[in-house]
């Protein structure tokens, strides 16, 4: 069961992560520009604080979103969902549909702009009480929710 190919997430997910990364960089960029313009630091180093936003931008906008996107994936079968994630810290979680307590489909404003959503599976276990699968097309997320819900309902009849 570990050999099955993982389904990739929607590419828009990487874009959303990039935009989120940009938003993180913004305050640092503003501070660095203000420092540069006001110039409290003597001549050759006036624009040195720019290093901080540039570094953060490299990591949070260029590097991480792509790595994250590549490391994530999922596989949905008849009776279970497998969610794989993690760039450095790898996690591979399987939730059988028969143990799903309830389901959420969530979107934040940014995700809504790009038409993607997060599917959240809640279980009764103390560990992994909720398993989140981000970066699905909203339509797919809703379909998956219905599929899992139908399974839960059928099983419990």
């Amino acid at each position: 069961m570990d050999t099955e190919p993982l389904t990739k997430l929607d590419p828009a997910y990487a874009t959303v992560m990039r935009i989120e990364g940009t938003l993180t960089v913004l305050p640092f960029l503003i501070v660095a520009i203000v420092l540069g313009v006001v110039g409290p630091i003597p001549q050759p180093w006036t624009w040195a604080p720019m290093i901080v936003p540039v570094l953060i931008a490299l990591v949070a906008v260029m590097l991480l979103p792509m790595k994250r996107y590549r490391s994530r994936g999922y596989h949905i079968s008849d009776d279970r969902l497998r969610v794989v994630k993690g760039v450095l810290f790898h996690a591979d979680t399987v939730v059988p549909f028969s143990r799903v307590q309830h389901l959420d489909v969530e979107q934040n404003p940014l995700e809504r702009m790009f038409g993607i959503a997060r599917l959240i599976l809640h279980t009764a276990g103390t560990h992994n009480s909720s398993v989140t699968l981000p970066g699905l097309r909203h339509g797919d997320a809703v379909t998956m929710r219905e599929q899992i819900r139908a399974h839960v309902k059928r099983e419990s009849l």
Binding site: M1, D2, G86, L88, H90, A91, R99, G125, E155
Partner: protein, 525 residues
């Protein structure tokens, strides 16, 4: 819930759909409790004022008003207790239990029957003297979020428990089945089969192993709190001991003894600490576990215990998620182990329910069997975690002490260096023993985990009662090819660090097949 007919209502005559008040004696309990906390400081102030100089400022001026102030405090408490009682009401309805309370800000809480895990009764000292019980509706929310009714009479509490439990069962099973169940057990608590109990002798032995030095902490705390009552200033006194060379004098005194006398004095001090520790352990154990009885009733496991605070907890068998068999470094040598259940309901702040806290393995086995678990036999196919994992851990743990040791030796501090090297060696040895003794096994129905070296702790979980499976790897683990396997267990944790990938995958596949085969809704709740 409308399908459940009102006619075969459970035998106990708790009034349904009626708003009821708790027992008026609860007012007395509340009063005693608040007064106890108000009166003790009041007495101290009184004492302080009475001993103060008559012409001094402050407290002494208030002296003539003491009696009125006391009366006022009592009066306010009385009024408060009465208002609280007046404004607290509860209702046992068709689908839920409701409790409304609060004088100024009111809270109304409703707990649907399907969420009630269990109803437990608890008697603290004062309510017990008055024949009252606190009824707790356990939902698994834990702590302050649990719905409590304090206090109702013992009879009423028992009836409430029966009624609510019958209604809970009715929610869980088909209506016909619930009616049947109710009909067949008018007085279900009456016939219980005793599974385990502890007599005074057993409690005493248990207490000896519950060595605790908490009494010293309590004494120091009390000293700090009540310091102002002492006829001298304690801290000044202690400071004096150092300042006036009294400590040096004491040292001289000890030095003047012969070596034998010195050794005897030290042994005496150690002995005294051990005796006090054991005595406080015995006292604590007696207070908590007095008349410990575990019974198998038709409703599940019923446990009663307590000397001052009596508790009576019933846990349905199917709600037991996993077993934990614990032991201690020393008690293990004498064959003593403790069994507890992991479930969603909480037990005195801890998630595990003690069912046989101090027992021999052959007493534990029947209880485990009754709960639907089997203890691993000789034939269990135990497996070990990856040796690489423990090797890496040993390297990481020994790295700093070992480096420090080398530096120390290089700088000429040979003894310190050797000491640090010994620490590193002990850490490495510990990891080696962990590799040897930590093990896990998979049988057709259960997942078993045995952790710890000197005091092993055995966890047994039912494969079907797990909720998710996760394999995680940190960068080191990925490089070295091992992983951590974690199961989602309701009310507890079950993790296997350092498994080889193949082992983890195999366990995951096996457990997932068991889980997927049975639906959660079909599990008895």
């Amino acid at each position: 819930m409308s399908e459940v007919p009102a006619a075969p209502e459970p035998a106990p005559e708790v009034e349904m759909h009626e708003w009821l008040r708790v027992n008026p004696l609860s007012m007395a309990v509340q009063m005693v409790r608040t007064l106890a906390s108000a009166i003790i400081p009041a007495i101290f102030i009184l004492y302080g004022a009475a001993t103060a100089e008559p012409d001094s400022e402050g407290l002494a001026r208030l002296a003539p008003y003491f009696i009125p102030i006391l009366v006022l405090i009592v009066g306010i408490n009385l009024a408060g207790a009465y208002l609280n009682w007046w404004r607290l009401r509860y209702r046992v309805g068709d689908t839920d239990v409701r409790v409304e309370q609060g004088v100024l800000s009111r809270s109304a809480r409703s707990v649907p029957y399907e969420r009630i895990q269990d109803v437990s009764l608890e008697q603290k000292l004062i309510p017990r003297l008055l024949g009252l019980v606190e009824v707790k509706f356990e939902t698994g929310a834990g702590g302050k979020e649990e719905l409590k009714l304090s206090y109702v009479s013992e009879v009423e509490g028992e009836k409430l428990r029966e009624t609510v439990r019958a209604l809970v069962e009715g929610e869980a099973t088909a209506p016909s089945a619930s009616a049947e169940a109710q009909a067949s057990e008018p007085v279900p608590e009456a016939r219980g089969e005793l599974l385990f109990s502890m007599d005074a002798k057993r409690l005493f032995t248990f207490g000896l192993f519950n060595f605790s030095l908490v009494i010293f902490a309590v004494l120091i705390g009390a000293l700090q709190q009540l310091e102002f009552l002492l006829p001298f200033d304690m801290w000044d006194y202690i400071a004096d001991i150092f300042r006036d060379d009294r400590i040096a004098q004491a040292g001289d005194l000890v030095n003047s003894y012969s070596t034998v006398a010195q050794i005897i004095a030290i042994l005496y001090a150690i002995g005294a600490v051990i005796v006090v520790g054991m005595a406080s352990g015995v006292v604590r154990t007696f207070v908590r576990d007095w008349e410990f009885r575990l019974e198998r009733t038709p409703k599940g496991f019923r446990r009663r215990r307590g000397l001052l605070t009596k508790t009576d907890v019933v846990m349905p068998v199917h709600r037991v998620q996993a077993l934990v068999v614990k032991t201690g470094v020393i008690r293990r040598r004498f064959g003593w182990h403790g069994l507890s259940f992991i479930s969603l309901a909480q037990d005195a702040g801890s998630a595990n329910h003690d069912v046989a806290p101090f027992a021999k393995m052959d007493e534990i086995a029947p209880i485990a069997r009754e709960a639907g678990f089997t203890l691993p036999g000789e034939s269990a196919a135990w497996r070990r975690a990856s040796a690489d994992y423990y090797f890496d851990r040993a390297v990481l743990q020994a790295f700093f002490p070992e480096t420090a040791a080398l530096i120390a030796i290089a700088l000429g501090y040979t003894w310190i260096g050797l000491l640090l090297a010994a620490v590193a060696a002990i850490l490495v040895l510990g990891e080696y023993f962990l590799w040897r003794f930590v093990r896990h096994a998979l049988d057709p129905l259960q997942v078993l985990s045995r952790r710890g070296w000197l005091a092993p702790n055995l966890r047994i979980a039912n494969r079907v009662k797990l909720h998710s499976v996760e394999i995680t790897q940190n960068p080191l683990a990925r490089w070295r090819g091992y992983c951590t396997l974690r199961f989602g267990l309701a009310g507890g944790r079950l993790a296997f660090p350092g498994l080889s990938m193949e082992d983890a995958r195999e366990m995951r596949a096996a457990v997932l097949d068991s889980i997927a085969a049975v639906d959660f809704a079909k599990l008895p709740r």
